[in-house]
């Protein structure tokens, strides 16, 4: 099973090391982890995607809650939520191939954000499926470098993960 956790943490030095250390020493598999501060600069939100069976996912939530710097933990997998990931792909793009690449980028509602002599950088935002799809679509041209942000997610509507519950 794969679960998405929305986690609020104190924006303290070392909080990322605490969370990462917890996952590595207990052998939990992180698919992706993204972290950044929220509108409240003292608080960061992590979106953590974890692979594991039910017992492991239960332990992940409980062990995270034990960390003093962790304020809230919610498994939002079964809630309605919006998730996005952003990818930057530097792809080989000689002038002969550029038109074709631009068409593909168009289909994925992506953008070309940099053009070099032999390469260009494509930016695409979407859910994981879409990101995987553009990656395979561009592969034949030769991907030079690729970076993904990992998933970020928010529950829809009135459901929230906030400090005040």
């Amino acid at each position: 099973m794969r679960s998405t956790f929305s986690v609020l943490v104190e924006n303290n030095p070392g909080v990322l090391a605490r969370v990462a250390g917890l996952f590595s020493r207990r052998g939990y598999n992180i698919d992706s982890l993204s972290v950044s501060r929220t509108d409240d600069p003292t608080i960061s939100r992590m979106t953590i995607v974890v692979e594991g069976d039910e017992t492991i996912l239960d332990q992940v939530a409980k062990q995270l809650r034990k960390l003093v710097d962790v304020i809230r933990v919610r498994d939002i997998t079964n809630d309605p939520y919006v998730d996005r990931e952003l990818v930057l792909i530097k792809v080989n793009a000689d002038s002969a191939k550029r038109g074709e690449i631009m068409q593909i980028v168009e289909i994925f509602r992506g953008r070309i954000v940099d053009v070099g002599e032999h390469t260009c950088i494509v930016e695409v935002t979407g859910d994981e499926g879409k990101i995987n799809a553009i990656e395979s679509a561009l592969k034949p041209f030769g991907i030079v470098e690729l970076v993904r942000t990992g998933r970020v997610a928010l529950q829809r509507g009135t459901q929230t993960v906030l400090v005040e519950e």
Partner: protein, 551 residues
């Protein structure tokens, strides 16, 4: 204006700290300077590991947080085993370390070690203080975190410029930890469900652990057992949580538990697990642990519920608070045949040992007899000595058995005994030791002599790393690889340190030697030369079900 060191002392006083165990060095000079005039007793151990275990022993004996102090770099890393030991056994402790000045942090400076990074997985929480104005808040939080919820060690790393900096002391006000709100009470619906399951049970067993002692629930546990007429098995950490002389007591369960304790767990239809964590040394093969039982698990740590064994009713809460609530609801209906069966097992499979020769079990029984009627605290080292003590010393009150359970730290018992004796100056303190383990912190003899602590050390001297040898005998075809010890003359060593010492080689000498030790106001080391290849029995082979015991 006060220095950071003086503010630290002020804060420690506010927390009620009367004693700290420590060892100085460059990075803690401002702290030691403040301690020079302070109304706090400082015990100078001879190794920082000794300071950590002594603080731990102090905490386990009193229930109050133990405090240790070490310098940066090697001083801090020497605390690591002590922190891990305290962490595994949920002991409230605050460790203070010096650190290089903030301007030198991260530069591999002289005696710099990233102790907050190193200790992250073996502390409940830790802090690096970057601003002297944060000190009062951090110290207040550290004590709060260490002593509430599931207790544990908290480390505060203090750079030298922070402890030297001068500022006005300001009270930090109330604690505001958004991510840390330990809960006390159990969910009423869950408690009701537990009461219902208990009412239905015909063959109940109570399985009690260190959580009972930590939460001060020995009285409630006893009332529970007597109300249900349910037999009680305890973990290593639970020894003393239920009186060993009580008719419902079945002793320790698990790898070296009594047969009747393990049989009772294996055949019960209700297992009431209280302040325990289903450690692998307790459960053996986890698939066949308490196979016929509805399991109710009460623990303060939510993460322990369902971690190792899936349970039917899980109640998160302080053991004492939950038991008080549960006791209001109870009815029970045990099958009289269940008690008969248990009595039968007790008669059929008693915990026993061979009587001729110098048997370690006999030494332990004699220690119990010599100290009977007086308040006594027993610490142990790790290995056979620890298991024999657990099996044969009848502990009747909480906090009287003090031993490294989760980490199994050789070298724990003696420095822990120092902390215990400092905390309980009027009580008898024994460290029941192995000849291997005692050598891991034997330098603390100097501390015991220095502070005139009348600790008694009883070495069960088998000339082996006995527990490892036992495994080699049973599972490695008697190939005693690196387990035979050629020991120094322990009597001479103790005497050189200024302690009293006796070697005991005959059964008839055991009693007089112990009487002499108990009467002495000095530290006494007794070197009991025991049967070399005595084993701890019964024993559940690793990975086996707990009702399949050897011996």
């Amino acid at each position: 204006m006060l220095t950071g060191g003086q503010i630290l002392v002020e804060c420690l006083r506010n927390e009620g700290v009367d004693t700290i165990f420590g060892y100085p060095g460059g990075a803690v000079l401002p702290i030691y300077d403040a301690l020079y005039d302070a109304d706090i007793r400082h015990i100078l151990t001879r190794h920082e590991q000794g300071a950590a275990h002594a603080a731990d022993g102090y905490a386990r004996a009193t229930g109050r947080p133990g405090v240790c102090l070490a310098t940066s770099g090697p001083g801090a890393t020497n605390l690591v085993t002590g922190l891990a030991t305290a962490s595994m056994d949920s002991v409230p402790m605050v460790a203070l370390t010096g650190q290089v000045p903030t301007s030198l942090l991260g530069k591999d400076s002289f005696q710099e070690a990233d102790i907050t990074g190193i200790s992250m997985p073996i502390t409940k929480h830790n802090y690096l203080v970057r601003d002297v104005n944060d000190l009062p808040r951090i110290i207040k939080e550290a004590f709060y975190i260490a002593t509430t919820g599931r207790p544990g060690p908290v480390l505060i790393d203090i750079p030298r410029d922070v402890s030297a900096a001068k500022t006005e002391y300001r009270d930090p006000g109330p604690i505001g930890l958004r991510g840390y709100q330990p809960r006390l009470a159990g969910e009423p619906a869950k408690i009701a469900a537990a009461a219902k399951a208990i009412a239905k049970a015909r063959r109940p067993v109570i399985y009690a652990g260190g959580g009972v002692i930590n939460s001060g629930a020995a009285g409630q546990l006893r009332k529970l057992a007597e109300t249900l007429m349910a037999p009680v098995v305890v973990t290593l950490m639970g020894l003393g949580g239920f009186p060993a002389d009580h008719p419902l007591y079945l002793g320790m369960l698990g790898m070296h538990g009594s047969r009747y304790a393990n049989y009772a767990v294996s055949e019960c239809d209700l297992l009431l697990a209280i302040g325990v964590r289903f450690d692998d040394r307790v459960t053996g093969k986890v698939e066949t642990f308490a196979p016929h039982a509805t399991i109710i698990h009460i623990d303060i740590d939510q993460a322990e519920l369902g971690k190792n064994v899936s349970v039917d009713i899980a109640i998160a809460g302080d053991v004492r608070t939950v038991l008080v609530d549960l006791l209001k609801h109870l009815t029970s209906n045990p099958d009289p045949a269940w008690n008969e069966k248990i009595q039968h097992w007790k008669k059929e499979y008693p915990l026993d040992y061979r009587k001729e020769g110098m048997r370690p079990q006999a030494v332990i029984r004699e220690i119990a007899e010599v100290t009977a009627g007086r308040p006594v605290r027993i610490t142990t080292e790790v290995g056979q000595n620890q298991m024999w003590t657990a099996q044969y010393f009848p502990f009747t009150r909480p906090r009287s058995f003090i031993s490294s359970g989760g980490l199994g730290t050789m070298g724990y018992g003696f420095p822990a005994a120092i902390g215990v004796q400092v905390a309980c100056p009027d009580e008898l303190v024994f460290d029941i030791a192995g000849d291997g383990s005692i050598q891991m912190n034997i330098q603390e003899l100097a501390t015991a002599v220095n502070y005139e602590l009348p600790i008694n050390v009883a070495i069960l001297d088998n000339g082996y790393l006995g527990m490892v040898r036992q495994w080699q005998e049973l599972f490695y075809n008697r190939r005693y690889s690196q387990t035979e010890l050629r020991n120094p003359d322990f009597v001479k060593i103790a005497e050189a340190y200024g302690a009293e010492a006796l070697r005991v080689e005959k059964v008839t000498e055991i009693r007089p030697a112990l009487e002499q030790a108990v009467a002495s106001s000095k530290p006494v080391l007794l070197d009991f030369i025991i049967e070399r290849e005595e084993n701890v029995m019964p024993m559940v082979p690793p990975g086996e079900s707990i009702n399949k015991m050897l011996g």
